[in-house]
């Protein structure tokens, strides 16, 4: 498939993610961070910005097999997942800028980027928090699939009537949930609780561990007993597959099999993708705590460069790939301009969408 249209499609997804994050990183300069760097001037992207540079092959390869009615939960490092699931790039940039036209109306920012209309249920500021939510969404998918015996009138509209595409929205009724999490998450209880839950109820969920080797500013390896995500999944009778997470074609091929198994009712699966976090924990973290040799070695396996080389070798013209890169940069430039010009939320919006009963007042 590497020379086919889908090969360039995967390349396009990765390149768009890289271009988006490069621009977001530039727009975050001048901000203030808990990690020590401070500078004068106001950053346009404020607060913690967690970049997935170098990890683009994982969402690209996995999400290629998903449709809008499949659900996705994400991590604090969720730009790539959101773009790969089909979210509008300009509205994402608006959200990072905190503008009213962002997906969350400026209430969430980078760390809570989400587009429910394509089933992307949100990036999450708490490590491992997406896992139990994912199994709940998958549990709902299973229950609603089994619901024909119930009164159709009483069944929820797609997405429960609140903007989601909803289980079975495509009519195929075999939608699944994909849950991205990092290697740091496997040391939190909700990881274990969610995997157990998924297996006990045989839910249509694919767990994807993006193993980027770093937990904030601490290397994950010395903090993790045993052999990691795959071994822990195996201990709960969940079939796990390791893959080179910097090889988008390998991720794509492995995910194709796992998604098909989950979609056909085979129960949960885990994909353990070995990749690397090129940047620091947040954009202003220069990762000075890291051995430069480790980073240099990792950059040798950059997923975009590898995919480009692979596609060229397979006969795709350099001009085609250049055009894809230029288009991504143009798209991001347009998004930056849109986000820059977009209005801020009304201050009163801070009082909306809190809750319905006893809603957002001083008392």
């Amino acid at each position: 498939m590497d020379s086919s249209n889908s090969g360039t499609a995967l390349y396009r997804v990765m390149v768009r993610i890289r271009a988006f994050e490069n621009a977001a990183e530039a727009a975050s300069q001048g901000g203030v961070s808990a990690y020590g760097q401070q500078a004068a001037g106001a950053a346009k992207v404020r607060g913690p910005l967690h970049l997935s540079t170098g990890q683009e092959a994982v969402p690209a390869g996995v999400c290629a097999h998903l449709r809008a009615s499949d659900y996705l939960t994400s991590t604090h490092r969720g730009h790539g997942h959101t773009l790969a699931k089909g979210a509008d790039l300009a509205r994402m940039m608006c959200e990072l800028f905190g503008k009213a036209s962002g997906f969350n109306g400026g209430k969430g920012g980078s760390m809570h980027i989400a587009d429910f209309s394509v089933g992307m249920l949100g990036a999450n500021g708490v490590v491992a928090a997406g896992l139990p939510i994912a199994v709940g969404a998958a549990h709902a998918q299973k229950l609603l699939k089994a619901a024909p015996g119930r009164s159709q009138a009483a069944l929820p509209p797609p997405g429960g009537g609140h903007g989601l595409p909803g289980p079975g929205g495509s009519g195929a009724n075999n939608d699944i949930t994909v849950c991205f999490f990092g290697d740091g998450a496997i040391n939190r209880g909700p990881f274990l609780e969610a995997l157990n839950w998924a297996r006990v109820y045989d839910l249509p969920v694919l767990f994807v561990c993006e193993d980027n080797r770093w937990s904030a500013t601490t290397a994950s390896g010395p903090m993790t007993a045993g052999e990691g995500a795959s071994a822990r999944a195996a201990s709960m009778d969940i079939a796990a597959t390791q893959v080179d997470g910097n090889d988008v074609f390998a991720v794509h091929e492995t995910a194709a099999r796992l998604v098909a198994e989950v979609r056909s009712g085979g129960g949960p699966r885990l994909l353990h993708a070995l990749t690397y976090r090129v940047k620091g924990h947040v954009s202003v973290d220069l990762a000075a705590y890291r051995d430069p040799a480790e980073l240099a070695a990792a950059l040798e396996t950059d997923p975009i460069a590898r995919a480009r080389g692979h596609l060229l070798a397979a006969g795709v013209g350099a001009a085609t790939l250049d055009a894809i890169e230029n288009a991504a940069r143009d798209e991001v430039d347009t998004a930056l301009a849109i986000a820059d010009a977009a209005p801020w939320p009304e201050p009163g919006a801070a009082f909306t969408d809190v809750q319905t009963v006893g809603a957002g007042q001083w008392y």
Partner: protein
């Protein structure tokens, strides 16, 4: 009018029966729910609605609460069973950072219509980890509704209202009210956020909720014998709380006593007292437990109990 004599737990079962029949989106998940729940508050529901809708769960509070959030986002209306409020602390990220924040954080894209049942209060001889009253924690949390019914009728009506309201609801039944019997009108709707005036009086306003209503009623009897007529208000919902009813009463009586089973320090009584003082200039007092964990031995446990005598004494002091 359909009147039934029911216990507090039977009233909850009846409420769930009605809601589950009316709405296929309503599901129950939690430990022991298939056997009816540890207090009988789910009795017969799995037999009636099947194991797919009344879901027995592993001892896994974070997953139960978190799965409830995911189910709600995907279109269901889960009832999330925590056994006791003390154990709900194991699912606190899932409630505080996920359920309560989802709708706002994602700009209204998501809704989390779940009801988290977490029985609270002193459970006889159950010591420090099974007897806590933590309602003030949740009232402090933007994004949730907090309900604490004191009678079978309210447990029936408020549980139905909680399931229909579409917000995340922290639903705190009292661990020792399950056997309390009373008349339940199946047709009676009780809105969230509306208090109930239990007795009318002019001498002072007494506000409480949940199990503590019983001690307050006893104190009112003692005070009535002395010619002191108390305006007794059962708050029923802590968020939103019925400011209108409470403040109108305070404006009339000019004296407010708030009583709760929870520790007095930073309790919800402080919120009501401060609000009443700010709005009406009335004299205020609050009465709760000392800031100690609940002990096991009867004499130690008694130190945490706010009884009718202490309530009556606090009322007399406020009047003096």
């Amino acid at each position: 009018m359909m009147m039934k004599d029911l216990s507090y737990s039977e009233a909850a079962v009846l409420a769930l029966q009605h809601e589950m029949q009316a709405d296929a989106r309503v599901v129950v998940l939690g430990e022991d729910v298939g056997r009816g729940g540890i207090f009988g508050q789910y009795k017969g529901l799995q037999q009636a609605f099947g194991a797919e809708r009344v879901i027995d769960a592993p001892i896994s509070e974070a997953a139960i609460m978190g799965a409830g959030v995911g189910m709600a986002l995907a279109g269901l209306r889960p009832v999330v069973e925590m056994r006791v409020v003390d154990f709900a602390l194991c699912g606190m990220d899932e409630l505080v950072n996920q359920a309560a924040k989802n709708r706002f954080m994602f700009g209204g894209q998501g809704r989390v219509p779940l009801v988290a049942r977490m029985p609270g209060g002193i459970w006889d001889a159950s010591a420090a980890q099974h007897s806590q009253s933590l309602e003030a924690w949740f009232a402090h949390l933007p994004g949730v509704v907090v309900v604490s019914p004191s009678t079978p009728q309210d447990n029936y009506s408020l549980l139905r209202a909680a399931l229909q309201c579409g917000d995340p609801v922290v639903y705190i039944e009292h661990k020792t009210l399950w056997g309390l019997r009373g008349e339940v009108n199946e047709d009676l709707a009780v809105p969230l956020g509306k208090a109930r005036r239990v007795r009318e009086g002019h001498a002072l306003t007494l506000v409480s909720w949940s199990k503590q209503m019983q001690a307050c009623a006893e104190a009112c009897d003692a005070l009535a014998a002395e010619g002191i007529a108390v305006d007794l208000i059962d708050l029923r919902t802590l968020w939103p709380w019925d400011r209108e009813t409470v403040l109108a009463s305070c404006a009339r009586t000019r004296r407010l006593l708030v009583v709760h089973e929870a520790v007095q320090v930073a309790g919800f009584g402080a919120e009501i007292a401060a609000s009443a003082a700010e709005a009406t200039g009335c004299r205020v007092a609050r009465l709760g437990a000392p800031r100690i964990p609940v002990g096991y031995a009867p004499v130690l446990e008694a130190q945490s109990r706010v009884g009718p005598e202490a309530i009556a004494a606090a009322a007399r002091k406020l009047l003096g």
